[in-house]
């Protein structure tokens, strides 16, 4: 396949993916905006006023980066896992498998689709947060880099989940029982300095903790983690998950008999 043909195939997958989540925007874009809006009102505004400052910022300013990152993570993941599994379920994935599209283009297309939804929700939530807090982004390039890399990591993770999934339960187990606890324990709502020693160590083992804190550093300029170390972790996750996806696609795991 020539490079321009590959580009057309990539573009086709991305357009199809974006069209899919835009077609069902009431299910894909509105619910996260409402959920995060409620977090802003209840945790940030009502409860946050009683909590006072955290990490040198008022509580609302402290949780905004974490909530934006939470929405990006959840939506990048859920877009890829639900879309690719639905392709498997309806067998429309066969359209792709019989075509000459290389595996890395298939993967890149779905990852780009996941990123598109994750970032679209991220932008909506950011716009919503401006009603509750004044955001002055301290390190714009770093902020963009970390949000892009995080979106890639969770889109890749969603892809692997979709490959192994055999039914609709399988695509909700990981988000419910793994992703949500990791996000909530990843420093979205509190600083690690508040935790007892055991939970401090446990938090350090949570990759989402690095992503949330690096994003917070990009916006507020304050963080509980070493930023360079956080980017190394993100890079390693990207490489490992991408390689895993390619190996699984080549083997035909969950796709070919």
């Amino acid at each position: 396949m020539f490079a321009n043909h590959k580009y057309i195939a990539f573009e086709t997958i991305v357009i199809k993916e974006v069209r899919r989540f835009m077609r069902i925007w009431v299910q894909t874009l509105v619910p996260p905006a409402i959920t995060i809006g409620l977090y802003f009102v209840i945790f940030g505004n009502l409860i946050g006023r009683r909590i006072g400052d955290m990490g040198g910022y008022n509580y609302m300013e402290f949780i905004v980066p974490g909530l934006i990152m939470m929405s990006v993570i959840q939506n990048s993941y859920s877009n890829v896992v639900s879309s690719f599994f639905s392709h498997k379920f309806q067998r429309s994935v066969e359209e792709l498998l019989v075509s000459p599209v290389p595996n890395y283009i298939i993967l890149s297309g779905f990852i780009a689709g996941g990123m598109a939804r994750g970032l679209a929700v991220g932008v909506i939530v950011t716009a919503l947060s401006l009603f509750f807090a004044d955001l002055h982004i301290q390190h714009p390039l770093l902020t963009i880099a970390v949000v892009l890399l995080t979106s890639i990591v969770f889109s890749l993770a969603g892809f692997i989940n979709a490959l192994y999934a055999n039914n609709f339960d399988d695509i909700s187990i990981i988000p419910t029982f793994v992703l949500t606890p990791l996000i909530y324990l990843g420093g979205v709502f509190y600083s690690i300095q508040l935790l007892p020693p055991f939970w401090k160590i446990a938090s350090v083992l949570n990759p989402i903790f690095y992503m949330v804190n690096t994003f917070r550093y990009g916006i507020l300029g304050t963080s509980d983690v070493n930023i360079i170390w956080a980017f190394v972790i993100l890079g390693v996750f990207c490489v490992v998950l991408y390689s895993g996806c390619i190996v699984l696609l080549r083997r035909g795991t969950g796709l070919r008999n």
């Binding site: 057309i8 639905s86 429309s92 498998l97 070919r256």
Partner: protein, 310 residues
Amino acid sequence: MTIAISIKQLEKTYANGFHALKGISLEVEQGDFFALLGPNGAGKSTTIGVISTLVTKSGGSVEVFGRNVDTHIYQTKLDLGVVPQEINFSQFERVRDIVMTQAGYYGLPRQIAAERCEKYLRKLGLWEKRMERSRSLSGGMKRRLMIARALVHEPKLLILDEPTAGVDIELRRSMWEFLTEINRQGTTIILTTHYLEEAEQLCRNIAIIDEGEIIENTSMRKLLSELDSQVFILDSPAVVKGDLELAMENVQVRVVDEHSIEVTVAHGRNVNEVFSRLTELNIPISSMRNKTNRLEQLFVSRLNANEAKN
């Protein structure tokens, strides 16, 4: 003559231990209209799955226009169009988007894709439905949409896995005409079907697969010539008596009811002689049909022979 597809010693054993293909070998020439027939579970769809890379083979080799599907994966896929047995497009997308997306997967620029999309949707009578969601289409329309989708990149080899299943006879005939036309234009076609009349009408060569083995691989004409006899049902406006005798060698007659008779004519015997004899007996014939499809007779006899052998 160029070989469109060459299958050698193809084996497939599924994870549950089911031995679906037991070393089948097959060749289809370029430009052929080839029937791959067999009962349910014989291995037809597995063979198509292996050719289209949806099923991983356990052994053997497949070449499409001289290129091995394992080593020349992209070129062989470009040459191949597949219409699967089951509906496999998104039920939520529009008809036009389904075909355009498939064109995109093959790297077709948007303008060419749009032209081809219109061409095939028009030819298959779906152009008026192009903006409708695919789930709203009838069963026959969904089958035609899969054919349009498989043709949008204009493959040299088209594989159709029961394309007319569940399609009414009028629509089936229009699909036959369409397939005959694209075959005449040079597209090699491999067809699996349970409608043996369809295979007899369309295909020049045939293979019968049973329990993962090829039990017959020959030309349609040669196969049909092997029939020992043919059974016809003749209808007459006159009343036929129950004790009718034709007194002809190699011809048996049986009265079905007072206006129909069943005549078994041995291979090589001229049917006109039967008509002449009936006319002599004042039994005019108003219509005539085969009791069973000729290919069906052979198909069943081959399967029975294979069962007896095993």
